[in-house]
């Protein structure tokens, strides 16, 4: 009962994962906050696609649940929440990273290579989408880099979400039947609650310091 050939499914998963990587790299250079949120939504949609292909190929119904939850949570709800937050606190639209775009792009290129090299011993494993570990690692590393490189709390939240996407990608693509349902649900609601709490926190930081610049938090009084 394998409706599509594993070969095709594997290629499809690799393609979608590569798409996620491209979007991650575009997020590094994209300067507008709202576009960044939209890119994150597209990246999550690709993740949901990977989960759906995985579920279809392994006939695992609970992986479908992950796909659906990803679409509801990360493609629709979280971008909506972040959009509303951006409008409510009326921040300056442009992200002001510490390093300029070409430099950070080069660093992310280096991180991608690091991801590829580290994951290389595992690529020979005979499993669906065997290149995805490299991409998941890269999403993780570049996500951390984004978090360090950006000053504003809201953009750091966004970076955290891309790190989470990387973790989810590894979880979905490498364990052939997905993790147990409970774990998946746990991670999922964790992120949801984390973003909501962080949203409130961002709002408070902004209220108290008149800025979202987290580097100002080491001052006693804003």
């Amino acid at each position: 009962m394998n409706p599509i050939q594993p070969e095709l499914a594997s290629q499809l998963i690799t393609l979608l994962a590569a798409g996620m990587l491209v979007i991650q790299l575009l997020m590094v250079v994209q300067a507008m906050l709202l576009t960044n949120i939209r890119l994150f939504a597209i990246q999550s949609l690709l993740l949901a696609g990977i989960a759906a292909v995985m579920a279809y190929n392994h006939n695992a119904s609970h992986v479908y649940m992950i796909a659906v939850l990803t679409i509801i949570g990360k493609v629709i709800f979280l971008p909506w929440l972040l959009n509303r937050l951006v409008q409510r606190i009326q921040i300056h639209q442009e992200i002001e990273p510490l390093l300029n775009a070409p430099t950070s792009m080069l660093i992310c290129g280096g991180l991608t290579l690091l991801g590829y090299v580290v994951a290389r011993p595992f690529t020979s494993l005979d499993r669906l989408g065997n290149n995805t570990l490299a991409i998941a690692l890269t999403l993780l590393l570049t996500g951390f880099f984004l978090m360090i490189n950006r000053r504003k709390a809201l953009t750091q939240v966004l970076a955290l979400l891309t790190v989470e996407n990387g973790v989810m990608l590894a979880a979905v693509a490498l364990t052939s039947y997905g993790m147990p349902m409970v774990v998946e649900l746990g991670i999922f609601f964790d992120v949801l609650v984390a973003v909501m709490v962080l949203g409130i926190l961002v709002y408070r930081i902004r209220e108290n310091f008149d800025s979202m610049d987290t580097s100002k938090l080491n001052q006693l009084k804003g």
């Binding site: 690799t14 491209v22 575009l26 250079v29 290579l113």
Partner: protein, 313 residues
Amino acid sequence: MKVLAILLQTLLLLALAPLVSGCIKNWKAKLQNRRGPRPWQVYFDIAKFLRKDMVISEHASWIFSFAPYVVFLTALLAGLMVPMINTPAPLSLFGGVLAVVGLLALGRFFLALAGLDPASAFGGMGSSREMTISAIAEPAMMLAIFTVAITAGSTDLSQIAQSTQSATWKLLNPAHVLAFAALFIVLLAETGRIPVDNPATHLELTMVHEAMLLEYSGRYLAFMEWGAAIKQLVLMTLLLNVFFPVGLAGPGDGAAALGISLLAYLGKLLALSSAVVVVETTNAKLRLFRVPDLLSAAFVLATLALLSSFLFQ
């Protein structure tokens, strides 16, 4: 047979290029709730320009009147070397894809000279910007194409297209996705599309391509515009037939296969044009000093593509 193929592809390039430009204009207008010009308006424009008299600055030298032909012919010649509806392409020079990139660069060189030649302030500004942008866009384009060339084992475009059709080829290779993304950004930059340049405005301080054409009128303007449309079509064809050679007719195929191939080509062209329209509508034009950021992204994507094609042999 060879002559027939050259003739056919020349006609196809000449006829299709204005239509693609017109369609993109029309759809963009539709998407922005405007009525917009009809898709075939560009033909009328070119026909009108061809009939009109020319006003040429008295300070202009021979370069000014020479450049339109160079721009037009290099685009056409480059187009003949890219397989459009069948492989092999009607023409193949030494170096294959390198010759295509070189021809397009020659056209751009003369375009920039022509912008400088009449010594108008805007023209020089446009030339300087064009050269700045192409200095980053061209290496990115070369690297992206090299990625595919390495996997195919040849820089000849017909051979690349043929090997992409064979069974052992991994179409959905991550290296190719990265290269495709890089080449798409380069396509936007080279054809003066919105994040880089705005094709819909004249007399805007940020214009690039239009600034160089500002002194042109009449027949020369017609050749310049037509040449730009052909260059756009050539780059789009390059992107389509190297990465998605679906339905491309082979060397010995008959008329029926060619017909199917033409339909498939038009379908792919439609999809790519729609993608360009969506990007143009949803994005704002970048500030000029931000353009290198975008292009450096394309460059890094292309470099990663090339390196990862080595890592995953």
